[in-house]
Protein backbone atom coordinates (compact mmCIF):
# COMPACT_ATOMS: atom_id res chain seq x y z
CA UNK A 1 0.00 0.00 0.00
CA UNK A 2 2.94 2.27 0.53
CA UNK A 3 4.26 1.98 -2.98
CA UNK A 4 1.37 0.93 -5.16
CA UNK A 5 -0.34 3.78 -6.94
CA UNK A 6 -3.43 2.04 -8.28
CA UNK A 7 -6.32 2.85 -5.92
CA UNK A 8 -7.92 -0.49 -6.62
CA UNK A 9 -4.78 -2.35 -5.62
CA UNK A 10 -4.61 -0.27 -2.47
CA UNK A 11 -8.08 -1.49 -1.56
CA UNK A 12 -7.00 -5.04 -2.25
CA UNK A 13 -4.06 -4.54 0.04
CA UNK A 14 -6.36 -3.40 2.81
CA UNK A 15 -8.30 -6.61 2.40
CA UNK A 16 -5.07 -8.55 2.61
CA UNK A 17 -4.18 -6.86 5.88
CA UNK A 18 -7.59 -7.55 7.32
CA UNK A 19 -7.19 -11.17 6.36
CA UNK A 20 -3.89 -11.33 8.15
CA UNK A 21 -5.57 -9.96 11.25
CA UNK A 22 -8.28 -12.58 10.91
CA UNK A 23 -5.72 -15.32 10.75
CA UNK A 24 -4.07 -14.17 13.94
CA UNK A 25 -7.43 -13.81 15.64
CA UNK A 26 -8.51 -17.33 14.78
CA UNK A 27 -5.10 -18.77 15.57
CA UNK A 28 -5.09 -17.19 19.01
CA UNK A 29 -8.64 -18.29 19.58
CA UNK A 30 -7.53 -21.87 18.96
CA UNK A 31 -4.41 -21.46 21.04
CA UNK A 32 -6.29 -20.04 24.01
CA UNK A 33 -9.31 -22.23 23.38
CA UNK A 34 -11.93 -19.50 23.53
CA UNK A 35 -14.36 -18.48 20.89
CA UNK A 36 -14.02 -14.71 21.09
CA UNK A 37 -11.32 -14.73 18.45
CA UNK A 38 -13.60 -16.38 15.96
CA UNK A 39 -16.44 -14.03 16.80
CA UNK A 40 -14.24 -11.03 16.17
CA UNK A 41 -12.92 -12.55 13.00
CA UNK A 42 -16.51 -12.71 11.82
CA UNK A 43 -17.06 -9.07 12.73
CA UNK A 44 -13.88 -8.13 10.92
CA UNK A 45 -15.20 -9.87 7.85
CA UNK A 46 -18.44 -7.96 8.06
CA UNK A 47 -16.64 -4.68 8.38
CA UNK A 48 -14.28 -5.61 5.58
CA UNK A 49 -17.16 -6.48 3.30
CA UNK A 50 -18.88 -3.17 4.01
CA UNK A 51 -15.62 -1.31 3.56
CA UNK A 52 -14.92 -3.02 0.25
CA UNK A 53 -18.38 -2.26 -1.05
CA UNK A 54 -18.25 1.40 -0.12
CA UNK A 55 -14.68 1.79 -1.30
CA UNK A 56 -15.42 0.22 -4.64
CA UNK A 57 -18.53 2.34 -5.09
CA UNK A 58 -16.50 5.50 -4.48
CA UNK A 59 -13.83 4.27 -6.84
CA UNK A 60 -16.27 3.55 -9.64
CA UNK A 61 -17.77 7.00 -9.20
CA UNK A 62 -14.34 8.63 -9.37
CA UNK A 63 -13.49 6.69 -12.48
CA UNK A 64 -16.73 7.77 -14.06
CA UNK A 65 -16.05 11.43 -13.45
CA UNK A 66 -12.45 11.50 -14.57
CA UNK A 67 -9.80 9.43 -16.19
CA UNK A 68 -7.52 8.52 -13.37
CA UNK A 69 -4.02 7.25 -13.74
CA UNK A 70 -2.94 6.78 -10.18
CA UNK A 71 -3.95 7.64 -6.70
CA UNK A 72 -1.60 10.62 -6.55
CA UNK A 73 -3.90 12.39 -8.95
CA UNK A 74 -6.42 12.59 -6.15
CA UNK A 75 -4.67 15.34 -4.25
CA UNK A 76 -7.01 18.30 -4.68
CA UNK A 77 -7.90 18.30 -1.01
CA UNK A 78 -4.46 19.26 0.15
CA UNK A 79 -4.20 22.26 2.42
Amino acid sequence: MLIRRNPLVMLICIELMLNAVNLTLVAFSRQLNNREGQLFALMTMTVAAAEAVVGLAILVDIFRVRDLEDVDDLSELKG
Binding site: L8, I12, E15, L23, S29, R30, M45, T46, V47, D70
Partner: protein, 157 residues
Protein backbone atom coordinates in the same frame (compact mmCIF):
# COMPACT_ATOMS: atom_id res chain seq x y z
CA UNK B 1 4.37 -35.70 10.11
CA UNK B 2 0.69 -36.31 9.73
CA UNK B 3 -1.51 -35.23 6.87
CA UNK B 4 -2.62 -32.17 8.80
CA UNK B 5 0.94 -30.90 8.96
CA UNK B 6 1.40 -31.42 5.22
CA UNK B 7 -1.77 -29.52 4.53
CA UNK B 8 -0.66 -26.77 6.88
CA UNK B 9 2.69 -26.26 5.14
CA UNK B 10 1.05 -26.38 1.75
CA UNK B 11 -1.64 -23.86 2.65
CA UNK B 12 0.86 -21.56 4.34
CA UNK B 13 3.12 -21.66 1.33
CA UNK B 14 0.24 -20.88 -1.00
CA UNK B 15 -0.89 -18.06 1.28
CA UNK B 16 2.54 -16.49 1.35
CA UNK B 17 2.94 -16.84 -2.39
CA UNK B 18 -0.48 -15.29 -2.88
CA UNK B 19 0.41 -12.42 -0.57
CA UNK B 20 3.54 -11.72 -2.55
CA UNK B 21 1.44 -11.89 -5.70
CA UNK B 22 -0.96 -9.32 -4.34
CA UNK B 23 1.84 -6.89 -3.75
CA UNK B 24 4.00 -7.55 -6.77
CA UNK B 25 1.79 -8.25 -9.78
CA UNK B 26 1.29 -5.33 -12.07
CA UNK B 27 -2.11 -6.15 -13.55
CA UNK B 28 -4.92 -5.58 -11.07
CA UNK B 29 -6.68 -8.77 -12.09
CA UNK B 30 -3.67 -10.81 -11.03
CA UNK B 31 -3.64 -8.97 -7.71
CA UNK B 32 -7.23 -9.89 -7.14
CA UNK B 33 -6.72 -13.50 -8.07
CA UNK B 34 -3.72 -13.72 -5.80
CA UNK B 35 -5.86 -12.38 -3.02
CA UNK B 36 -8.46 -15.03 -3.75
CA UNK B 37 -5.72 -17.59 -3.47
CA UNK B 38 -4.67 -16.14 -0.14
CA UNK B 39 -8.21 -16.25 1.11
CA UNK B 40 -8.80 -19.81 0.08
CA UNK B 41 -5.59 -20.98 1.69
CA UNK B 42 -6.48 -19.02 4.80
CA UNK B 43 -9.82 -20.79 4.75
CA UNK B 44 -7.98 -24.10 4.76
CA UNK B 45 -5.92 -22.88 7.69
CA UNK B 46 -9.09 -21.93 9.53
CA UNK B 47 -10.35 -25.43 8.98
CA UNK B 48 -7.13 -26.78 10.45
CA UNK B 49 -7.69 -24.51 13.43
CA UNK B 50 -11.11 -26.16 13.81
CA UNK B 51 -12.90 -22.90 13.07
CA UNK B 52 -15.39 -24.45 10.72
CA UNK B 53 -17.92 -21.69 10.63
CA UNK B 54 -15.31 -19.03 10.07
CA UNK B 55 -14.02 -21.18 7.26
CA UNK B 56 -17.41 -21.29 5.58
CA UNK B 57 -17.96 -17.59 6.01
CA UNK B 58 -14.50 -16.84 4.74
CA UNK B 59 -15.21 -18.75 1.54
CA UNK B 60 -18.75 -17.51 1.05
CA UNK B 61 -18.36 -13.87 2.01
CA UNK B 62 -14.80 -13.07 1.09
CA UNK B 63 -14.01 -15.36 -1.77
CA UNK B 64 -17.57 -15.69 -2.97
CA UNK B 65 -18.87 -12.16 -2.72
CA UNK B 66 -16.30 -9.50 -1.91
CA UNK B 67 -13.69 -10.67 -4.36
CA UNK B 68 -16.28 -11.18 -7.07
CA UNK B 69 -17.13 -7.56 -6.54
CA UNK B 70 -13.50 -6.59 -7.02
CA UNK B 71 -13.33 -8.66 -10.14
CA UNK B 72 -16.51 -7.05 -11.34
CA UNK B 73 -15.15 -3.57 -10.84
CA UNK B 74 -11.94 -4.46 -12.61
CA UNK B 75 -13.76 -5.80 -15.61
CA UNK B 76 -16.00 -2.75 -15.50
CA UNK B 77 -13.14 -0.28 -15.44
CA UNK B 78 -10.79 -2.08 -17.75
CA UNK B 79 -7.07 -2.48 -17.15
CA UNK B 80 -5.55 0.35 -15.15
CA UNK B 81 -1.79 0.20 -15.36
CA UNK B 82 0.37 2.18 -13.06
CA UNK B 83 2.18 4.78 -15.07
CA UNK B 84 2.66 8.51 -15.16
CA UNK B 85 5.05 10.68 -13.25
CA UNK B 86 6.44 9.70 -9.92
CA UNK B 87 5.59 12.43 -7.48
CA UNK B 88 6.94 11.12 -4.26
CA UNK B 89 10.54 10.18 -5.01
CA UNK B 90 11.47 9.38 -1.42
CA UNK B 91 8.43 7.32 -0.67
CA UNK B 92 10.00 3.97 -1.51
CA UNK B 93 13.07 4.53 0.60
CA UNK B 94 11.27 5.79 3.61
CA UNK B 95 8.79 2.94 3.29
CA UNK B 96 11.62 0.45 3.18
CA UNK B 97 13.09 1.90 6.37
CA UNK B 98 9.75 1.80 8.17
CA UNK B 99 9.01 -1.71 7.04
CA UNK B 100 12.43 -2.86 8.12
CA UNK B 101 11.81 -1.31 11.51
CA UNK B 102 8.50 -3.10 11.76
CA UNK B 103 10.03 -6.40 10.76
CA UNK B 104 12.73 -5.90 13.36
CA UNK B 105 10.09 -5.19 15.92
CA UNK B 106 8.26 -8.36 15.04
CA UNK B 107 11.41 -10.43 15.32
CA UNK B 108 12.23 -8.82 18.65
CA UNK B 109 8.75 -9.49 19.92
CA UNK B 110 8.54 -13.07 18.80
CA UNK B 111 12.02 -14.08 19.90
CA UNK B 112 11.13 -14.87 23.44
CA UNK B 113 7.83 -16.58 22.73
CA UNK B 114 7.47 -20.21 23.68
CA UNK B 115 4.94 -22.32 21.82
CA UNK B 116 2.76 -25.01 23.14
CA UNK B 117 0.33 -27.42 21.59
CA UNK B 118 -3.18 -26.23 22.31
CA UNK B 119 -5.56 -28.44 24.21
CA UNK B 120 -7.70 -30.69 22.12
CA UNK B 121 -10.73 -28.77 20.97
CA UNK B 122 -14.08 -29.95 22.16
CA UNK B 123 -16.38 -30.99 19.32
CA UNK B 124 -18.57 -27.92 19.72
CA UNK B 125 -15.62 -25.53 19.32
CA UNK B 126 -15.97 -23.41 16.19
CA UNK B 127 -19.32 -24.87 15.25
CA UNK B 128 -22.33 -22.85 14.22
CA UNK B 129 -23.94 -23.43 17.61
CA UNK B 130 -21.02 -22.08 19.56
CA UNK B 131 -20.63 -19.05 17.30
CA UNK B 132 -24.35 -18.40 17.29
CA UNK B 133 -24.66 -18.56 21.07
CA UNK B 134 -21.72 -16.20 21.38
CA UNK B 135 -23.10 -13.73 18.89
CA UNK B 136 -26.56 -13.59 20.34
CA UNK B 137 -25.69 -13.51 24.01
CA UNK B 138 -22.38 -12.00 25.07
CA UNK B 139 -21.68 -10.11 21.87
CA UNK B 140 -25.15 -9.05 20.86
CA UNK B 141 -24.31 -5.36 20.91
CA UNK B 142 -21.31 -5.50 18.56
CA UNK B 143 -23.29 -7.89 16.42
CA UNK B 144 -26.13 -5.39 16.11
CA UNK B 145 -23.62 -2.63 15.42
CA UNK B 146 -22.11 -4.54 12.54
CA UNK B 147 -25.55 -5.30 11.20
CA UNK B 148 -26.34 -1.59 11.24
CA UNK B 149 -23.06 -0.97 9.44
CA UNK B 150 -24.03 -3.48 6.79
CA UNK B 151 -27.43 -1.89 6.45
CA UNK B 152 -25.85 1.50 5.96
CA UNK B 153 -23.50 0.09 3.35
CA UNK B 154 -26.37 -1.64 1.59
CA UNK B 155 -28.67 1.36 1.58
CA UNK B 156 -25.98 3.92 0.86
CA UNK B 157 -24.80 2.27 -2.32
Amino acid sequence: MGPATIVFWLASAVALAGGLGVVLFKEPIRNVLSLVLVMLSLAVLFLLLSAQFVFAVQVIVYAGAVMVLFLFVITLLGPVREQGTVRLPWQIFISAVVIAAFAGFLVAMLRGVSYRTPDAADPIFGSVQSIGVGLFTDYLFPFELTSILLLVAAVGC
